[in-house]
Point group: C2
Chain length 202, copies 2
DNA sequence: TCCATCATGTAAGGTGTTACATGATTGC
DNA sequence: GCAATCATGTAACACCTTACATGATGGA
């Protein structure tokens, strides 16, 4: 009896484009390129820096690491600890680096956009203005929280001495982008709230 | 021998909140509330009005209609046609209306954001500025196309005589929101392109 | 003749989320 | 004594995408 180890390699079609995108794989490769990390570290990296653009639960992170390992894109080493559970630290293999490089060059696929707030708001004409207002208020709160997080991130980037300035440069650009988009959304939301509240006072 | 018909009703937990969200279900209910429609019509409604906020393929639309039908939230009627394939037109049941109403009142769930462009840009410090620039150029094009579509939609809303002004009001708000967000993204993208191109001329 | 439109679907597989399981240490 | 943190994972399922299947009509 022997274990069958299934080697999962990303499939490419004739045009050398990935059939399945699995963004999470590449995010993990991108993170590991910067530093070798454990699954736990990766989850933390998401929460610190990436969560506004992409996020994943533990379970997905650990299973993806396993897949990457089976595809020989990463390799792991167990760091024995006494007072804490052992850590399984992953690093990129050469194949992993090549894979990441390929993803970075590849065009961003055009995908369906999905925005649950706008989708619900779209149908709010089928219910009362009170309900719509409540959604708008909640959304405003959410945007303010997110903007506060962006401000926090800005300060992090500003104060941290950059060991690798190129990495930081693009992370700051992404932060700037997200902040601008959130602000634009906030303005429209605030105007809408005012407008609807005005109509109801009259 | 008899067929077992599985009645799929949306599950609620004790707090009376939906366990699974299945936004597409509610979008379809929302569309059918306005007019009875066939699957084909729904696909077209997506392309005309909804695609910027949510979209779905044919296959998903037809299977979801089937589910909704099994859950007695919609009912269908076959419209026989001679020169074209028959149409299966769906309309809301009372249970369907109640379900829609419930969804409209329910808070928008906080979910992970996913933005493939920003995610890739985040890692562009790990590759060359040339590659980043190419992504930025492609993204700019995409934003311009989307903005053109928003302008088209604005004109549609402006010229169409509103049979049900409340429905339109919120659709226009959503359009306005999306447009503002796209514009904000375009500005940051254009600034970034200029900045990076400047650096390379020096 | 060839392609687009009308119209409805099935099958398979990839992706993402929730719930669950485990167990020691450190700080309040 | 209780909760949070550290640390890794499995199982089940919900959701989404791609590819495929069918077949008539009408216009370029």
């Amino acid at each position: 009896m022997h274990e069958e180890i299934e080697i999962v390699t990303p499939e490419r079609d004739e045009g050398n484009e990935l059939v399945s995108r699995n963004t999470l794989r590449y995010i993990i490769l991108g993170l590991l390129w910067a530093h070798p990390m454990s699954g736990y570290d990766i989850k933390q990296a998401f929460e610190r820096a990436l969560a506004s653009y992409w996020n994943a639960g533990n379970s997905q992170i650990y299973t993806t690491l396993k897949h990457l390992s089976q595809a020989h894109l990463v390799e792991s080493e167990i760091i024995v600890q006494t007072a804490r559970p052992n850590r399984k630290v992953y690093r990129l293999t050469e194949a992993g680096e090549a894979e990441l490089e390929h993803w970075l060059q590849e065009e961003v696929p055009a995908r369906f956009t999905k925005d649950e707030f706008l989708t619900k708001l779209f149908f709010c004409g089928e219910t009362s203005d009170e309900i719509a207002l409540q959604h708008l208020h909640e959304h405003r709160e959410s945007l303010r929280t997110q903007l506060a997080h962006m401000e926090w991130a800005r300060q992090q980037y500003a104060t941290r001495p950059a060991r690798r300035p190129r990495l930081l440069e693009y992370q700051m650009l992404v932060r700037e982008y997200k902040e601008a988009v959130l602000k634009a959304g906030l303005e429209v939301t605030e105007r809408a709230i005012q407008r609807i509240e005005q109509e109801h006072k009259e």
